[in-house]
């Protein structure tokens, strides 16, 4: 029975079911907010989650990875992110019900009253500080900070991992070259985050939890933060082992596990498989289909979608055209990630445009 559960978990945490399952779960949680925001549900999550941890503790393979001192924060991350997502959705649900009934949001009602900073706020801060100081000291006394062997540039550890908070980006390296996964996308994440207040013209939902007044914004952030950031960090920490191969949480990290990877460029699909001739040698000719696809994706697609989508960015001034195109550009880069992932899983696509001669691969 125990082994069966372990095998099942090892199977459903493989990248494809892991990612698609998480996406489905997010959609269900957001869709059925009345049920997913029930108190009993989060209580059940915490109970089952802790029980699972205790049970899985006994497994040597699980124990070796999950209980590494530096992985404790990931456990904290999982529990706190689930809890706070639930809490925010619950408050959003309650507020949406209030607003539908014609009442102000909970925060709106509370913000009409004012209290003295001393003692009400100062004491909360003090208690938080005392609790966190105590927790940090207990944590520090009970778990020693690890120190590995003296650095040796000649001996590469396998796997070599970036710090855990960058593992989402390292995971992208499976699908993209470093100039996209390590430079372009991180820059776009920062730029995109900074652009949010200037792109979101919806005046509602300013300063209180709500879902129905800004369904797209909230869902989009959930997808970005939970599905593409936090879940990738978890995947990278717990499920990626030697040679960046995938390992289930109960699987032994076998150095010799090699997954056959035969990934094929779009140009090979086009010239060899479709036209039945060898690929031309000139890079630009060879990659013409991929280049056409990328140009169409980034230049023509936003133009085509302008008619139905543009009005969502209108806030009484002409800048909505700029706003729309900036947003679409960021969105399309973001969308390239799941697109490439899906194509990799289904048709083993390596590159849309593959010009290794110039280090230019998309």
């Amino acid at each position: 029975m125990g082994q069966l559960i372990k095998d099942l978990i090892d199977t459903v945490t493989k990248p494809v079911p892991y990612f698609l399952g998480s996406a489905l779960l997010l959609a269900v949680v957001l869709k059925f907010r009345k049920i997913s925001t029930k108190l009993s549900l989060i209580a059940a999550f915490f109970l089952i989650g802790s029980a699972f941890l205790v049970w899985a503790w006994g497994d040597p393979n699980f124990n070796r990875i999950v209980t590494k001192p530096d992985n404790v924060p990931i456990i904290i991350l999982i529990f706190s992110v689930v809890f706070f997502s639930w809490l925010s959705l619950r408050r959003a649900y309650l507020n949406d019900e209030r607003i539908k009934a014609g009442r102000p949001s909970l925060e709106g009602e509370l913000s009409k009253q004012k209290v003295f900073t001393w003692p009400d706020l100062v004491y909360i801060e003090l208690i938080c500080m005392v609790l966190f100081t105590a927790a940090l000291i207990i944590w520090s006394v009970s778990i020693e900070a690890p120190i590995e062997e003296y650095a040796a540039t000649a001996r590469t550890p396998n796997p070599s991992k970036a710090p855990w908070y960058f593992l989402g980006l390292q995971e992208l390296l499976v699908y993209f070259d470093p100039w996209i996964a390590g430079v372009l996308l991180p820059s776009y994440i920062v730029v995109g985050l900074m652009a949010i207040p200037y792109l979101d013209v919806n005046p509602k939902g300013n300063g209180y939890y709500t879902f129905e007044e800004r369904p797209f914004a909230v869902s989009f952030f959930w997808v970005g933060f939970l599905l593409f950031w936090v879940s990738f960090v978890i995947l990278g920490t717990f499920l990626r082992g030697p040679n960046w191969s995938f390992f289930g949480p109960f699987e032994y990290w076998d150095l010799h596990k090699l997954e056959p990877m035969v990934n094929v460029d779009l140009s090979t699909y086009f010239w060899v498989e479709l036209l039945g001739q060898p690929r031309p040698s000139a890079p630009l000719v060879r990659e013409a289909p991929g280049i056409a696809f990328i140009l169409g994706y980034f230049l023509i697609l936003p133009k085509l979608l302008e008619r139905p989508l543009l009005k969502a960015f209108y806030a009484g001034a002409r800048e909505h055209l700029v706003r729309y195109h900036v947003f679409m550009h960021l969105l399309l880069w973001f969308g390239l990630v799941p697109l490439k992932m899906l194509l990799r899983w289904t048709v083993s696509l390596k590159y849309f445009v593959g010009i290794p001669e110039w280090f230019f691969n998309i």
């Binding site: 404790v72 924060p73 991350l77 706190s80 706070f84 925010s88 408050r91 959003a92 925060e107 709106g108 509370l110 913000s111 209290v115 003295f116 900073t117 001393w118 003692p119 009400d120 706020l121 909360i124 500080m129 966190f132 940090l136 944590w139 520090s140 006394v141 778990i143 900070a145 690890p146 120190i147 590995e148 003296y150 650095a151 040796a152 550890p157 070599s160 710090p163 855990w164 960058f166 470093p178 100039w179 390590g182 430079v183 372009l184 920062v190 985050l193 949010i196 207040p197 979101d200 939902g205 300013n206 300063g207 209180y208 800004r214 914004a217 952030f221 933060f225 110039w358 280090f359 230019f360």
Partner: protein, 258 residues
Amino acid sequence: MNKLLDALRSTQVWKSIFRHGYPDTPRNRTLAILSNVFLHLHPVKVRRSGIQLSYTWCMGGLTFFLFLVETITGLLLMFYYRPTAELAYQDIFALREHVPIGVMREVHRWAAHLMVITVWLHMYRVFLTGSYKPPREFNWNIGVILLVITLLLSFTGYLLPWDQLAVWAITVGTNMARATPFLGHEGPGAALISFGGLDFVHAGDDVRFGLLGGRFVGDAALLRFYVLHCVGFPLVAAVLMAVHFWRVRKDGGISGPL
């Protein structure tokens, strides 16, 4: 006991420090905030929504608190640590072996992990409550930069123990810089910047070289990361935090609908 306290409170020394009586009246509660340089970060009164934990999650405050923890423990660690490839590892090892009840490295490390999580959750909360909307747009931007700096602080600190984990994590991380378009020697477009067969962007002068002060993670990289970790980024973070907190009050006050 009470008499003793009363006597203490009527001394000139006490009165010179605290300009008001015990804060149990509206007047004294106001003065408690206004006459204290630290507390006057806060307004005298706040909205009730702003102190509701299930609304604010306290994550911004905790991030600031953890920054202070990092500053204090980091200062103590600096007494024992010499940033050279030769000595760094020994010094970290000696912390464990020779410093009695030494948990400062542990506190520093775990609080750093925690700070990354609290920053993320703070941003998550601010987004979900739409608290980046006008007039708070600019402060959201300051917040994003602070988030990046938090990650950079953690990243630069990662190298300092100079063990296998540290050096290889930084190697993996900084290898990305090689692929920077035009500026990294393995980046697209870098080959275009060459004149008469002479490459201008190569492994000895690209952005990665600038980041590490060399072609690989060595002594120069350690010193760079150390200086940035202990002085550079904390200074920038402190300045931006001042702006962040100030703008919270200027842009409509803490946590509440606008």
